[in-house]
Every structure is written in C-alpha cells, then in structure tokens.
C-alpha cells in the first residue's frame, strides 16, 4: 500500500463521498417536501377523492363496489402517482440545482435514485398506507386487504420509477400537463394488470405468490433501468 498515485486517491474520495451525496440528496428532498406539506397531502387527497367518486358514479351497492374495488384503488393510486410526479425534478430544474446535480462528479444513477426514493416516500407511501381504509369503504373482501397493501407497496415504487423517465424527458417543456400522462401511462400497464389481478385473485381464494414474484421482478427491472434512462433524459432536457 505504498503506491499513492493520484488516481487511487481520487477514487477513494469519490467512493466515500458517494454514500454521503446519496444521503444528502435524499434528506434534502425530504426536508423540502416536509417544508411544503401540501406536496405530501395533495396526492393522498387526490387518491381519496378519486376513489370516493366511484360509489357516486357507479352505485353505492356493496356487491357492485366490492367487485370493482381492487381496480378502482389501483387505478387511483396510478393516477395519484402520475399527478405528483411533476414535483420530482420541476423545482430543481427551475432554480438550477438540477444543473448542479448533473455537473457533480457522483454517478447520476444514484442521485436520480435518491430523488426517486424521496419522491416515493412522500407521495407513494401515504397512498399505500391509506389503501386499507379505502378498501373498507369500497367493501373489498377483508381477506384481500393484505394482498392489496403488499401489491401496492411493491407496485407504487415501480410507478414512480417509470414515471421519473417521463418527467425527465419533459421537464424542460413549457406545456407538459397531458403529455406526461400520454407517455407514462402505457408504460405502467403491466404493473396495473398484475397488481389488480393479485387482489382480484385473492378475493376468489386463489394463490397470489406468482403475482408478488412478478411485481418484484418488475421492481428489480425498474430499479436497474429507470434511473439510468432518467439520468440520460435529464442530460438531454437540461442542455
């Protein structure tokens, strides 16, 4: 260990600071989110309101509602995650801190991942936690509560990760609104299918291990690919 070439010194410096940079990006984003409580409340409120529109629009009949409950909750969670995505890079893009993030020596993959995690903790997790209450209100069979909760817990991070690609691609555009949904929603259909089917199947007393395994595989794939794609997209959008 006598060799003290500048390269190895630089390497260890980047390595030690990677974890630190990851943590500080994560805590910074969480801090900003907690300073603006509406950002946390809005997705949950949106989720609550959309779900409560269905009994009004379809019928208050418990039998009909219990049939559609799983799908309604999953679609509403998908829409809530879609609408909250705009916060992901927007403010950072406008105040220039995104540019600093791109210029930093840390691998962008981890920085984007940190932002994704904080975004999910703020907007995805509350929706997951609230889902059993809404499941009760929509007369979902009680044996399906656990499955709904776990499927949302594995599935909503995938929605956030796929969504972040769409946000990264559109962050520089003046009018984004609907284009984000047009790009991202088709990409998220597999998650919706598997997640909603898991809940529907457990209501019929079928085993759901496979569904969780597939959702887990999707999460693993999304964790691998989505931050890379988002990082590449951010570089294009910021230029």
């Amino acid at each position: 260990m006598t060799d003290k070439s500048p390269v190895s010194v630089a390497d260890t410096q980047t390595l030690t600071s990677l974890g630190k940079a990851f943590r500080s990006t994560l805590s910074r984003d969480l801090l900003i989110a907690f300073k603006r409580r509406n950002d946390i409340l809005n997705p949950v409120m949106f989720f609550l309101i959309v779900v409560s529109l269905f009994p009004l629009g379809v019928s208050p009949d418990p039998q009909q509602l219990s049939v559609i409950a799983a799908g309604v909750i999953w679609v509403s969670a998908l829409l809530a995650s879609m609408l909250s995505l705009d916060n992901l890079f927007r403010a950072d893009y406008e105040d220039g801190s995104l540019e600093q993030l791109l210029l930093s020596p840390q691998p962008l993959y981890f920085m984007v991942l940190a932002k994704n995690i904080s975004h999910w903790l703020v907007s995805g997790l509350p929706v997951v936690l609230l889902s059993p209450v809404l499941a009760y209100m929509l007369y979902l069979p009680s044996e399906a509560y656990g499955t709904l909760f776990i499927s949302l817990l594995i599935g909503t991070p995938v929605l956030s990760l796929f969504g972040s690609i769409g946000v990264a691609l559109t962050v520089g555009l003046g009018s984004r609104g609907l284009i984000l949904a047009v790009i991202v929603l088709p990409l998220t259909t597999p998650v919706l299918i598997v997640g909603a089917k898991a809940v529907a199947d457990v209501s019929f007393g079928l085993p759901v291990g496979t569904h969780f395994a597939i959702l887990g595989a999707m999460l693993a794939l999304a964790l691998t690919i989505a931050p890379l794609a988002s990082a590449a997209a951010l570089k294009i959008s910021v230029n």
């Binding site: 690609i165 691609l169 559109t170 520089g172 555009l173 009018s175 284009i179 047009v182 790009i183 929603l185 088709p186 990409l187 259909t189 597999p190 299918i193 598997v194 089917k197 597939i214 999707m218 794939l221 690919i225 794609a229 590449a232 997209a233 294009i236 959008s237 230029n239």
Partner: protein
C-alpha cells in the same frame, strides 16, 4: 464495410441510393400484392368454420405482424442515434413512428371487422387486442413527445430514449396481458401436408401478402424519410440544386 457504414450517415448518399431502389420496390410490391390479393380473394378455399371471412386474415396478419416490427426498428434507430449520432437514423426513427401507429390502428380495425362475424363483437378485452392497443398508445406517446420538443437534436435523443424504454416494455406488456386474458386464437403452425389444418394453399398466399405489405411498408418509410431528408437539408447546396432542376 466501415466505408459503407459511414456513407449511411450521409443523407445525400441515402437519398440518391433510395431513389434508385424505389422503382424496383414499386414493381415488386405491385407483383406481390396483385398475386397475393387475387389468390387470397378468389382462389383460397373458404374456411370450413369461418367461411369467407377467413380472407380478412390476408390483410389482418400482414398488417399486424409489420406493426410489431416497427417498435424494435424505432428502438434500434434510436440506439444508433444515441451512440453514433447518425442523423439518418433519427430521420428513420421519426418516420417510422406514425407508420407504426397507422399499422397498429389498421391491425385493430381489420381485427374488429374480422371479429364481428366470428366472435360476435367488434371489440373485446382480449390479450392481443389489448397489447396492440397499448402499443398504439406507445406510438402516440413517442409522436407527442417529438412534436412537443422544439429543438430537433433534443427531440431526437429524447425520442430515442423513450423508444428504447418502450421496446423493453413491449414484451412485458405482451406477456402480462396474455397472462391476464386470452381469447385470440394462437398462430397456426404452418405445414407442407395438404391435409393439415394449415396446408400450403392457405399459408403460401399469406406469405406473399406479408411480403407485399412489407414492401409497401418499406416504400412508405423510404418516401417519408426522403421527404424528411429534403426538409432537414433544405439549406444544403445539393437539395437546392435538386429543387432548381425541378
């Protein structure tokens, strides 16, 4: 080999070369389409179950199979754009998106016309129909992204990323939807045996039609790309010379 590859990056070279190909492609398409359509519409025996409606297959299957090739093509062109910065690849990627959307739409339409007499419904939430519909949405997304970004260079790279992500997702969508609900008949195995369920007299005209529609697809893609070349290179001397010549 590398000379060929670097030449491919030159829009002018491609424009001139594709101009030489086009008459041959037109001729081949007319021959294949004429033979395929006449054979399929007049001489293929009516199916013992589906009757005359089986002839819709000779449009539906080629259109659907080509629409499936469009997304991978767009992703490959996108990768070339990102890696080698080849202008021509992006022009192809731009031009294939609307064609892919059209072919997906036509596959859905011809499928609906076929489905009505056979299944009794125009639309059903079957796996292949649904995944074709989602693929149609993906094409619309790429087109929307392209039109939303003003800078041509940024649009090229952004659409390339979306195309690659979409192409990774297309098989996942396909399998998840298939697992979700299947009504569509699986593809029939081809056989040389004249007594088999799918004898040569059925599938040979289908192959000819697939070749014909593929040629049609290539011609439309070439025409669109040539147009795109002229638009993007409008300030270059060779395009202005071309315009002056008339």
């Amino acid at each position: 080999m590398w000379l060929w590859f670097s030449k491919l990056g030159s829009p002018r070279w491609f424009y001139e070369l594709s101009g030489k190909w086009l008459p041959w492609l037109y001729a081949a398409m007319v021959v294949f389409m004429a033979v395929g359509l006449t054979w399929a519409l007049l001489f293929v025996p009516a199916d013992y179950q589906q009757g005359e409606t089986i002839r819709i297959m000779y449009v539906h299957v080629p259109v659907a199979s080509i629409s499936l090739a469009c997304f991978p093509l767009m992703a490959v062109a996108g990768t070339i754009t990102l890696v080698w910065r080849m202008k021509l690849a992006d022009m192809v990627a731009k031009c294939v998106a609307p064609i892919g959307a059209w072919f997906s739409g036509l596959a859905l339409l011809s499928g609906a016309i076929w489905g009505e007499p056979i299944w009794g419904v125009w639309w059903t939430w079957d796996a292949r129909l649904t995944s074709m519909l989602i693929q149609f949405f993906l094409f619309i997304g790429v087109i929307a992204l392209r039109s939303a970004i003003e800078s041509q260079d940024a649009a090229a790279k952004a659409c390339a990323i979306l195309a690659i992500v979409g192409a990774i997702n297309v098989p996942i969508i396909k399998y998840s939807v298939e697992w979700w609900n299947t009504l569509h008949q699986p593809a029939s195995r081809i056989s040389m045996d004249p007594m088999a369920p799918n004898p040569p007299e059925i599938w040979v005209p289908l192959l000819i039609m697939i070749a014909g529609v593929y040629l049609f697809f290539i011609i439309t893609l070439l025409l669109r790309t040539r147009n795109e070349i002229l638009v993007r290179e409008r300030r270059s001397k060779w395009v202005q010379d071309l315009v002056r010549k008339g």
